[in-house]
Amino acid sequence: MTQEKAPAAELPIDAVRPARPGRWLGAAAALLFLVWLAYTVIVNENLHWDVIVAYLADGRILGGLWVTIQLTVLSMAIGLALGVLAAVMQLSDNPVLRGTSALYTWFFRGTPLLVQLIFWFNIGLVFPTFAVGVPFGGPKLIEWQANAIITPFTAALLGLAINEGAYMAEIVRAGIRSVDPGQREAAESLGMSHRQVLRRVVLPQAMRVIIPPTGNQFISMLKTTSMVSVIAGAELLTVAQRIYLGNFEVIAMLVVASIWYVVLTTIASVGQHFVEKRFERGHVRLSSRVRRNLRPLTSKEPS
C-alpha cells in the first residue's frame, strides 16, 4: 500500500462573499420600524411615563407581585405533585385507578380555567361547610364554614393547582413513556420492585423530557395567575386594576404590571436553562465525539 503524500503547502480559503442586497434591505426595514415604534411610544404624552416610573416600586404593586410569585410557585408545586400522581395512576395496571386519572384530566382540561376559578370561589354555594369525619352523612369531628376558608387566595390556589395538575399529568406521562422499556426490564431483572424501578430508574430519566415543558408551564403560570383578578385575588393585575380605578391611569398601570410580568418570565427562563442543564447528566455527551461507537439509545430493539 502506498502512503498518501503530505500536502506540500497550505491552501488557505480566503473567499469573497457573494453580495446579498436583500439581507441589508430587510435589516434596514426592520430597524426603521423599531425606531419608529420606540419614537411613537416615547414621545406619546398619553402614556404618562412619569406615572409608570412612580408606581413601579409602589408598595401595593410589590405586594401584588409577591402574591403572584406565591400563587405561581405553590400552584406549580401542587400541580406537579398531582400530575405525577395522575400519570402514575394512568400507567398502572389497575383499571379503576386508570379511569379515575382519565376522568380528572378529561374534566379539568375540558372546562375553562376561568370557570373553574369562579366555581372554587363560590364553592360555599354548593358546600356551605367542610368537615372531617365519617363520609356519607356520618358523624363529623371538625367542621368549617366554607366562607371562612375559601378566601380569594385559597380559591385561586385550588383552581390553578388542580387545573395545572391535569396538564402536568400529560407531560409527566409523556416523559415516563419516553424511557426505553429496556430500562425497566434491566431494573426488574436486578430484582427491583415497581416502586424502586419508578423512583431510581424511570423518573430520573423521564425528568429530562419533563423539565422543558414544565418550564414552559411555569412561565405560562406566571401570567395565568392574572386570571385570578376576576375573583379579586390580590395578585399583580388585581392590584394594578384597583389602582387605576382610583387614579384613572389605566394604560400606565397596565404597563407597570406588564413590566413586572416580563421581569418574572425573564428570570424564570434563565432558571429553566440551568435546570435543564442539570438534568442532561449522562446525555450531553451523546452529541459529542464519543457517539461514533454507539447506536442511538432511542431506537427499538429488533423483535
Binding site: E188, S189, L190, M192, Q196, R200, R281, R285
Partner: protein
C-alpha cells in the same frame, strides 16, 4: 407437576412443556430443557425461532401460558399449595428475579449513572448493602471485566463492548446463581465482540451456570456444554456443541449453519 428433586441431581434450570403465545402467534410450542448447575447452554436458531422469548420466560420478563419453569429448584412465578398454583406476590417475584442475572442485546445500562454507579445500583437499592461495601464490590467487578479505569464514565462515554462488560458486572453484583445472555454481542461492532466473549469465557470457567442465546458458533463450540437449536418455537436438535456443529442431523440446522458460518 412433581415437587423439586433432591439437590444433588437437581438442574439449575428445568423447563417442562413451556408454551407461549403472542396473540395469534405461538412462539414457544412446548419446550423441555434442563440446564445442569455449572454448565453453559448455548441456544441458537434463526430470528423469530423463540430463543429470546425462552430466555425472557426463565426470569419472568415474560410469562409462559402453560408448562413449568424451575430455577434452582424453585417454581418460577408460582407457589404450589393444595394442588393449585398461587401466583407469587410482586416482592416474592422480585426475590426470584434477583437470583438470575440478565444481559441484554442492547446493554440497557442506566444512562444517568456512571459505570460504577450502575454496578452499585442493584446491591444498594435491592439488597440494602451499605454504599461503601457496594462501591468496593463494584470496583472489584469492574476490575474483573477489565474496566477499572472506566468506573466514573457515563455509559454514553463508553464503547458498546465496554458498556456490555459493565452490564455483565452489574448483573454479577447481585451474586446470581444463573446468568442469562440474550444475544450479548449482536449489537456490537465486529472488533468489539471478542472483549465481551472473553469476559463470558472467564465467567464460564469460574463455574457460573449460563444460558446464552447467540450467533457466535465458535463461542458455542469452545465454551458450551450443550447446544440447543430452536426453530419455529420448538427445539429441533440438541447435544454436545462440537458433535452437533460437526455433524448436524436435521436439514433445518444444516441450512441455518450454512447461513451463519
Amino acid at each position: 407437576m412433581s415437587t423439586p428433586e433432591a439437590p444433588a441431581d437437581r438442574p439449575m434450570v428445568r423447563i417442562r412443556a413451556a408454551r407461549k403465545r403472542f396473540g395469534p402467534l405461538e412462539v414457544l410450542k412446548g419446550i423441555d430443557l434442563d440446564v445442569p448447575a455449572g454448565s453453559v447452554v448455548c441456544v441458537v436458531g434463526p430470528s423469530g425461532s423463540g430463543k429470546s422469548t425462552l430466555l425472557r420466560c426463565v426470569n419472568r420478563l415474560e410469562t409462559i401460558d402453560s408448562g413449568r419453569i424451575w430455577v434452582n429448584g424453585e417454581l418460577m412465578g408460582y407457589n404450589e399449595r393444595g394442588g393449585r398454583l398461587h401466583a407469587l406476590r410482586p416482592a416474592e417475584l422480585s426475590r426470584q428475579q434477583r437470583g438470575i442475572g440478565m444481559v441484554f442485546q442492547r446493554f440497557h445500562l442506566f444512562p444517568h449513572r456512571t459505570a460504577i454507579e450502575n454496578v452499585m445500583e442493584g446491591p444498594v437499592t435491592v439488597l440494602r448493602m451499605p454504599t461503601a461495601q457496594a462501591r468496593r464490590q463494584a470496583a472489584e467487578l469492574l476490575e474483573r471485566v477489565g474496566l477499572a479505569d472506566r468506573a466514573h464514565h457515563y455509559p454514553a462515554q463508553l464503547s458498546g463492548g465496554q458498556q456490555q462488560r459493565v452490564a455483565i458486572a452489574r448483573s454479577l453484583a447481585m451474586r446470581p446463581s444463573l446468568m442469562l445472555f440474550d444475544e450479548p454481542t449482536s449489537a456490537l461492532d465486529p472488533e468489539l465482540v471478542q472483549e465481551v466473549l472473553a469476559v463470558m469465557r472467564d465467567l464460564a470457567a469460574s463455574g457460573m451456570t449460563m444460558m446464552v442465546v447467540t450467533h457466535e458458533m465458535s463461542f458455542a463450540r469452545e465454551v458450551g456444554d450443550q447446544l440447543v437449536f430452536m426453530d419455529d418455537g420448538v427445539i429441533v436438535e440438541r447435544g454436545d456443541p462440537r458433535e452437533v456443529l460437526a455433524a448436524p442431523r436435521h436439514d433445518r440446522l444444516r441450512a441455518f449453519l450454512g447461513q451463519v458460518l
